[in-house]
Symmetry: D3
Subunit: 290 residues, 6 copies
């Protein structure tokens, strides 16, 4: 990671060189060892940083520039290959420090399971926390073929901690029948297929709340994000996702942390997915870090 002087990796465009002065901290979580289908999201953070250099620093959507927000790019959290339990622990410890320092944690996955320890660390500080979750998949399993640590379980595990009623999922189009039934019975919010319109209805009810936003890039239709582990057609456009990010920016919620996960560059020869991820992150940083 980048705290020592010999850091040798790329950083996100216009990230601030000084940790102490920054309001937010960007970090990669290059883990993909519990996925059940196509691995490769471990290379997401590095490639997103690399292409971020081609981003405009100015957002026409928000009329704001990256220079207006001080965020530090801490590099990637070193994770032990093939050991999910220890990896999650490392992530949690890192994010605890970021949150303790009053900074906004901004994560780049990696598979979706990496969001779990982040959300847990954030919840330790903000006990009124609500989760906004964009995804094609429910991720509400208790385990995956017996394994409790799986990319299919993070939302369930955090819901069990903060209460299902505080979890709001959007864009969902795949899951087990049992997952949808559990959500319904436990008062968790799921908006199937769509994101923007249901989000507009939910946001006013969350005004003033501390919110963590976790975005699985596969909420996008494969046409817009082919570079991900599990492509699932019938998703939303990148235009709709951008509008949803801006909707949150303009709402009264207090975003205390967020992430973008499941970017797997190898499946996208055109590099559109990493470029889209970089732009989405720019908009989230400009819109959500106040």
């Amino acid at each position: 990671m980048r705290f020592d002087e010999t850091y040798a990796g790329n950083v996100f465009i216009k990230s601030h060189p000084n940790y102490e002065e920054s309001k937010a901290v960007l970090y990669g979580m290059p883990m993909d060892w519990t996925v059940s289908y196509r691995p490769g999201s471990r290379f997401g953070p590095a490639r997103i940083r690399e292409v971020s250099i081609g981003l405009e620093e100015y957002s026409l959507y928000l009329d704001r520039e990256l220079d207006d927000v001080k965020f530090f790019d801490a590099g990637d959290i070193p994770l032990p290959f093939g050991n999910p339990e220890k990896s999650l622990k490392e992530i949690k410890e890192f994010v605890r420090k970021v949150v303790a320092a009053g900074k906004v944690p901004i994560g780049m996955g990696g598979e979706h399971l990496v969001s779990l320890p982040v959300m847990e660390a954030v919840y330790e500080k903000y006990n009124d926390l609500a989760i906004i979750h964009f995804d094609a998949h429910t991720d509400l399993r208790t385990d995956y073929e017996g394994e409790p640590y799986s990319h299919a379980t993070p939302i369930r595990k955090i819901a069990d901690q903060i209460g299902p009623k505080n979890v709001y999922s959007f864009g969902i189009r795949s899951g087990l029948k049992e997952e949808f039934e559990w959500a319904k019975e436990n008062g968790m919010h799921i908006s199937p297929f769509e994101v923007l319109e249901p989000l507009k209805k939910v946001l006013p009810t969350l005004a003033g709340r501390n919110v963590y936003v976790t975005i699985d890039i596969d909420v996008l239709d494969p046409a817009h994000a082919p570079g991900t582990g599990t492509v699932d057609c019938g998703g939303i456009t990148s235009k709709e996702l951008l509008a949803s990010i801006h909707e949150i920016a303009r709402s009264g919620v207090n975003v205390v942390g967020f992430d973008l996960v499941e970017v797997a560059p190898i499946y996208d020869h055109s590099e559109m997915t990493v470029n889209t991820a970089a732009k989405l992150l720019r908009e989230m940083i400009l819109g959500w870090v106040k």
Copy 2:
């Protein structure tokens, strides 16, 4: 094929192991030898089966699970390479048996010409048959540069048999001027460019009818299905195609057979097209096999 014990290929997820007990029969028709542009759809069926393993068995759209429908995956019909005439004959004979057994034939192409013998075999049983056809192309030629067996001719050839008035094409955006004129003069229905809205208007007029549905994957915009022989921009989204499938499911038509053709995996490095094809088939099976 899979009727003998030494079958050695993949089968579609949750296909039923027993032919006799099944209500529907899935089969591949790996033929691509008459295409005029890019071949490769011969590998469609095998790759669709392979990725089907990653599908959720439950459809949130239809609230139904694959276990609720007994369909047998018969494997691929063995076809003689480079011999379209004999290939079509083999297909027809196979489908005749399926239809005679009172089962619903579900075909995976292969090029679009493979739908012709299927539709003919179905028509032998259901003489009030109507065809619903989703495609970017008219496929209404009488021949292609002198060749009567061509991927550009199947709809014309079936229309000549069942009557043009019983053929309903949707999403069409390419063809010869003469093809559109022939359709108009002969009372065949063509909805240019769009699928969902015109379909909603047509379906009530078909209520109670026996209908065969043939879907060329290139009705989708290339953004949603790059893995096909002839990519033609200006198409519909996978969301719209899913909605159209569900519209048919909820209408009063009686789907007596259907197919999905022209999936050519090699042109799609992200594998989105085969994954989309697998999900479309799941929805068609869950929605149309009663």
Copy 3:
């Protein structure tokens, strides 16, 4: 180029063999040496011609056939590799001759900078010229890191000549803050994000005017045109771009020249971008060359 008898390259489908008899002249400008991100658009024209062979000659959108329009494919303008100044001069001289002969110049890029000398040559003849510009990027810089000849500058340079009030940009979603401010202060028209709806409002005000239309393929969302140098999500669909082309065709503007630039085939394994470019050109030729 193709004026001498030994021309050895492809030509666009149904291009007319005789220069003198043609009303329009198609030509390639295979230059990509000033781009700041991904090069490769030099191969755009050759690949577009190659796949044009697969196009239907008839447009269902416009009910017109390529045989109805005489356009000559002049091949590619020979350009000195790595020398933008001399390249632009060569282009300008060529287009001057085309315009002088009363023919409509139709350019294929190459990077966007190639449009500058074309627009200058057209402006020499039509001094009431207006520019319609479809793009993801403003291209309004005065220079790029000190270089005046850059793919980021052509619209600014032509605006300085014909007056910013005569320039109409659509679909823009990226640029420097300063570029947008300059446009605003100088009365240049910019429609952010959208194309079709704002175009419908602008076109009536341009009725009767001589107009040059320049289309950067990256106005399309990367889902629809992954094969371009700078992919920028949040763009329009190919359906919307086709509709916009048809809107111009039906308006009262007099299109005196047009181009399609920034097609870089190597980034699109599916070849959808070159196929889309070929179809867009067919529609522009059929709709705009009267």
Copy 4:
């Protein structure tokens, strides 16, 4: 094809514009409809011509330039998609004319079956004909699963006509046991695995003979030619194949025709196979057309 004035395709670099004056005739045979594995060689000829533009005109190996040999590029022979019988007839008729005019036929495939009618047409003129055959596969089947016209049969069919003793195969590493037995019993020459060394031994025995050389690009190891239908490891290097071509050039045999087949560009993202094919053709033309 290119005999009429409106020819609109690429031609091989430095091909001569005049048919009558040329000593050799290059032509494409874009057929791939009988292959049993991966199709796509129909695009070989067009892509080879396109990249030939990047070839040096001078061969350091042979100290000769393309300007030293007059060869005409006739374009592609139009072949009916999916109809092998008619396709072979068209090829045969074309090559008969070339041979009758005393010119050397130079074919580009397409699948290997296209070599059969060429060799037959050449044999009609040269009844002492010997065949030199470079390939990974024997191609000695009498039929392929019942089909007599197949990419697996051309060498057997020509051997039956000119006599197995006049056929010399090199580099073979795959085939049915029966094929090798047939070859052995009938006195046909097969050099397994290797090309250069056994060729050096055979060539002196062929001095003064009229010879047709047919090269399947898959005689190369897949490392050197990934862009082919059937990749089979354990092959020779491009260096060895170049040396073999030069060995024939320096021997006393009289090459009366030759071809290079089975180049399928889609499987080779790096374009190395088409570039290699273009260079091999340059060397064959410079070395064999006297």
Copy 5:
């Protein structure tokens, strides 16, 4: 796996349908969760089986046909995603049964760590076991950044059990200085860079011994096997590897088990690596299963 009747996956060409009657058992170990660089070898076994259908059943190298050897394809061993400890346990239990039944285990990886439990299970039966190991990498680490279960450790771990003097590595070109020192100090055999010539010297000393052969596909140069996690130039050709396999077949060693690992299809668009893997397996089966 395939022991129950509802098995739904591909099997290797000409594998025997009956487990009991077979002398050897082929199985996949689709695990890639401890790799430190590029994952994806989990898809190796499925893709190798799929392309095996294109293999000739006859080996010209060994003059033997697949019908001459009865081997059962058991499908893939179900492994818990992201849990290496449990995965290794599952593999070991499966192989124990195979070995106990007197059958030869034939493994397809998956990452190289999967070979460890196999070798352990084989060693339980054959306590004079020697290991022949082809690889670019030493795989002699005791742990990888603290993790004992890693793709970088299997050879060390088995060497610790059977004694370093019984391990023979060939083709090695990468490793830590410490690994080479450990090997030297402990009498383990390492042939750097080369395989065939040093193997010829070693084999006579192993005559009559029970030997397990483990081949990491990356012993091949990346030119010959681009589809693997860690590409390392300076390797051997597929021709040399084939010759090495045949050398073992002709030696007096008794091969009691073997595997081929680290085939990661996604990095090889041409599919040469999976085709090569299938052919290598054919030769190993024909040459080593007596």
Copy 6:
């Protein structure tokens, strides 16, 4: 570049953090604007650094570790897009400083023209300089279609300055007839096709000389380096190139600077070329920086 504190890019594995203490300086020259065929080598340096992280730090070939050599990675020299003249000037000025500080310049291209200013700067200090040049192409043109600054000219231009007798080219297999004649007439050394054997003969004659080594990655056969602008078959293997590097390391020549150019990652989906480039650089650094 990296001299200021806010450097935000990757660096080569084990590069030293301090410029002053280092004996050698690595830098990228991301320029590709004068190439006549396929651009893309501008992305070579960044991708080589990125994959260098996967390199072993120890060389088994040289028994030396990267920690044994202090080399500083200065990042990329900022070059003005599309302006070769100014770019070359920037490079020259940078290298002058490196050489003046007594450090060894190590360049990563970019196209081959970038080597020219480097060699000129090195020659300013070492006036007995000899050039060792590995390449498929002569690069001896005086201009390319009129342009003096071209990737086809650097060796000629430096030969004109230091004297053709001091230039030694190896592996050459393509060029104009005139280039070879010029070389011969002027006493320049060219070893056609081969590298290792002729190098062994030349090196003793250069013992004690100050030598600059420039390697165009396309000296490798395309099988070994598909990721380059101009693929030219008949080249050497990576094994031979490694051996040639080691041969120089063991000779008595004094390497005062070196580079590796023309790595264009986009054409190599497997990433083998950038991985090979990284390993070659490791060997050059370990073998040549004393």
